[in-house]
């Protein structure tokens, strides 16, 4: 898809999203849609480091939680508008990514993954011990009223998350099709070889870590507005880390569309099963889908589609 077409589709999606609150009356669909879009942002952010560069980050909830608490702090201290909260959260996420990356990116594989888990524990402990941020019991955040155009706060926060999802996907696509993306793919294939070819590996990894952290933290910023209450258990939830990992793997990690497909598929299944079959099925669904994709389609949905196309092409060539 060319940049022109991508921008056209993005604009159409954004316009449809803005009109939706005027057409669809039931707020529940905006609650559910918000969660799906939130995971599109998180999975896309995760994939910049985990997919393109091949560095598995288990600490997604640390970045998400940092975004949540940055926004909560800004609401409490300054009653800052949502746009300021989003920008600040992205900034803090980038900074956190940069610092974490500097401290951990010299280690690789499982050691890097463990180091990212530690980040969750550190940040959660900091929040637990901060009276200003509500400690273990959390902080009630009564956000300012939504602009008049939107039918309610849920519709507003849904539209904000839709814009963030488009921004995140745009960033991921830009990285993928630039020299940065090529450098990260080289690192993923073989770090010593990339270094030998002149790729500044540490600098590239730091950039990926910072951008990934910024995008994930950005996803956390509207959460205080959405839930009206923040607490460490939700902000630093293991489920976020698990989903962030599973969604790109299910969708495919090689391209920006993979995490989007994985997030829409998995988050929708989770939202539907929560209020239909059983929420215990949520975790089971993630697990089963992950196993199924790892075994049957290790390259995710994208890999599966590519393989099918190849087979069809080969069949046509033989006939």
């Amino acid at each position: 898809m060319s940049w022109r077409n991508f921008l056209l589709v993005a604009l159409l999606v954004a316009a449809a999203g803005m009109v939706l609150p005027r057409v669809l009356e039931n707020p529940y669909y905006f609650f559910a849609g918000y969660v799906v879009l939130q995971y599109v942002v998180i999975a896309t952010g995760w994939n910049i480091l985990g997919g393109y560069a091949g560095y598995t980050n288990f600490g997604t909830s640390a970045f998400f939680g940092a975004g949540v608490y940055t926004a909560a702090f800004l609401i409490k201290a300054f009653e800052a508008p949502l746009l300021v909260q989003v920008l600040a959260a992205a900034g803090i996420g980038m900074l956190l990514g940069l610092v974490t990356g500097y401290l951990t990116l010299r280690i690789q594989g499982v050691y890097f993954a463990i180091a990212t888990v530690a980040l969750v524990v550190v940040l959660e402990t900091v929040v637990h011990n901060s009276d200003y941020l509500g400690g273990a019991s959390g902080l009630t955040t009564i956000a300012p009223p939504a602009p008049a155009w939107f039918a309610g706060p849920t519709q507003y926060v849904f539209c904000v998350m839709l814009v963030l999802a488009l921004v995140a996907v745009g960033i991921a696509r830009a990285i993928e099709h630039s020299w940065v993306g090529r450098s990260l793919r080289a690192i993923r294939a073989s770090e010593p070889a990339a270094e030998a070819c002149g790729v500044p590996t540490l600098r590239m990894k730091l950039a990926a870590c910072a951008i990934s952290g910024g995008v994930i933290a950005m996803a956390g910023a509207p959460y205080p507005y959405y839930a009206s209450h923040v607490d460490p258990l939700s902000a630093f939830s293991l489920t976020i880390g698990l989903n962030a990992l599973a969604m790109p793997l299910i969708g495919g990690t090689r391209s920006w569309i993979g995490p989007v497909l994985g997030a829409v598929l998995l988050a929708s299944v989770q939202q539907i099963t929560t209020v239909t079959i059983s929420s215990e099925f949520n975790i089971l669904a993630v697990g089963l889908m992950l196993i199924a994709f790892v075994v049957l389609a290790p390259e995710g949905i994208l890999g599966l589609v590519a393989e099918l196309r190849e087979r069809v092409g080969r069949r046509r060539a033989t006939t």
Binding site: G152, Y226, S228, D231, S234, T274, S279
Partner: protein, 420 residues
């Protein structure tokens, strides 16, 4: 074409009936629809131990429907699992209100989960009954919120005050306070410290320990050195268990007459069975114990029904702590609907603010924030407990109520004597 007056009358009548029919049909249909009450229950996750709350709701629904329902309509529960995650709550409650069209709400269990649904309940103007949520309405100040649990006014700070009142009446001069580093515990500890300062009781030690601590030997040894007459402990099930075991191994100085207060855990059957006689002497908060002073109409029948249901569901076999208050939450709604003859949210809320409600956990009167006007958190002492199992706790005399004075069912036995 001419039309006679009689034909005109018939035509007008026909049009009127045709126009009114949908409204009449909808209204008649609504009258036949069940009254729906929606909530979440933590069936999975960290709070899954509280899922026996569902039995309380279901027994209330079944008994009410067996007696003819509400306003001639059946009562239906719509329950989802919130996975103990506050992040799940807003979406699920939106589903309950906007899709399932429930008429009334029960909150999730506890303050953290409830905090995320309170703004939504207020926005949609639905009567919500709080399930053991502490101070959930202090900030939102929603006039249609009512608390089913007896924390009383200013519950966040005063829910464990009975322990300090007891210390005061016992003439305690030196007290030690230890609390887990969580809001629930810290706020109660801070409230207790202030009561002590007002009453002239010296706080000889004030320890806030990490919630993950599981070895209390250092704290207990430190307490021995300070020789307090009372020790207030505000802990969660893992640390409550570790502390009780530590007591048995290390012991306390003979000066200690009162021990306990805010321990979460000794209310649950599993811990009561595990700790057995090690619980003797501990004075701890509870919401219901089977003492003669708490024989409210219907509570014994409820517990008998609960026992059977709990066995089938494989949950807490005693069910003293949460389920009676879930049943009472249902009664709060049904009594108000019966009295007003309506499910109009304002009428129901106004009636609840103005009238007391008779429930299986006693008569409840609400203040302007929907909290009970009087705190009725019990301070009960374990006495004469042996290792024979759970049946002993179903009889009176094993958890003797010392506070509030109106429900007192026995005398305090000094800690060392109760354990000897």
């Amino acid at each position: 074409m001419s039309i006679s007056r009689r034909e005109l009358g018939k035509l007008a009548g026909g049009i009127s009936i045709a126009m009114a029919a949908p409204a009449i049909w909808t209204s008649a249909r609504a009258q036949n629809q069940p009254i729906k009450i929606g909530c979440t229950v933590s069936q999975t996750g960290a709070l899954a131990g509280t899922k026996n709350s569902q039995i309380g709701y279901e027994l209330w629904r079944d008994n009410l429907n067996a007696a003819g329902g509400l306003l001639g309509r059946k009562v239906e529960l719509v329950i989802y699992d919130d996975q103990s995650s506050p992040a799940q709550v807003p979406g699920i409650y939106s589903k309950l209100i906007d899709v399932d069209k429930v008429d009334f709400l029960f909150t999730p269990y506890g303050a953290n989960l409830t905090a995320t649904m309170m703004p939504l309940a207020k926005q949609r103007d639905k009567v919500a009954i709080g399930i053991l949520t502490l101070a959930s309405n202090d900030k939102v100040k929603y006039d249609k919120f009512f608390q089913a649990a007896p924390w009383g006014p200013n519950g966040a700070e005063d829910w464990a005050r009975g322990f300090f009142d007891l210390a005061q009446t016992q003439g305690v001069k030196k007290i030690a306070i230890a609390a887990a580093d969580t809001e629930f515990s810290k706020t109660a500890a801070a409230g207790g410290k202030r009561v002590c300062e007002q009453a002239g009781i010296e706080v000889v030690s004030y320890d806030i320990y990490p919630p993950t601590l599981n070895d209390f030997s250092a704290i207990l040894r430190n307490l021995r050195a300070k020789a307090p007459e009372a020790i207030f402990l505000c802990s969660y099930p893992p640390d409550s268990t570790a502390m009780v075991r530590g007591l048995t191994e290390i012991g306390l100085p003979a000066s200690v007459r009162l021990f306990g207060g805010g321990m979460v855990g000794p209310q649950y059957a599993s811990l009561m069975q595990t700790l057995g006689k090690n619980l003797n002497g501990i004075i701890n908060f509870h919401l219901y114990v089977p003492e003669p002073t708490l024989k409210f109409p219907g509570i014994e029948g409820f517990l008998a029904e609960y026992e059977k249901a709990a066995k089938a569901a494989n949950v807490d076999p005693l069910g003293f702590y949460i389920p009676p208050f879930c049943y009472a939450a249902g009664q709060i709604i049904s009594e108000a609907v019966k009295a007003t003859g309506s499910i109009d949210q304002k009428k129901v809320a106004d009636w609840l603010h103005a009238n007391p409600v008779e429930t299986i956990v006693g008569k409840i009167r609400f203040n302007e924030l929907g909290d009970w006007t009087e705190r009725r958190v019990l301070m009960a002492q374990f006495q004469g407990v042996d290792d024979s199992g759970l049946d002993q706790f179903r009889k009176a005399g094993k958890q003797v109520i010392l506070d509030p004075p109106a429900f007192k069912s026995g005398e305090l036995v000094p800690f060392a004597k109760a354990r000897s």
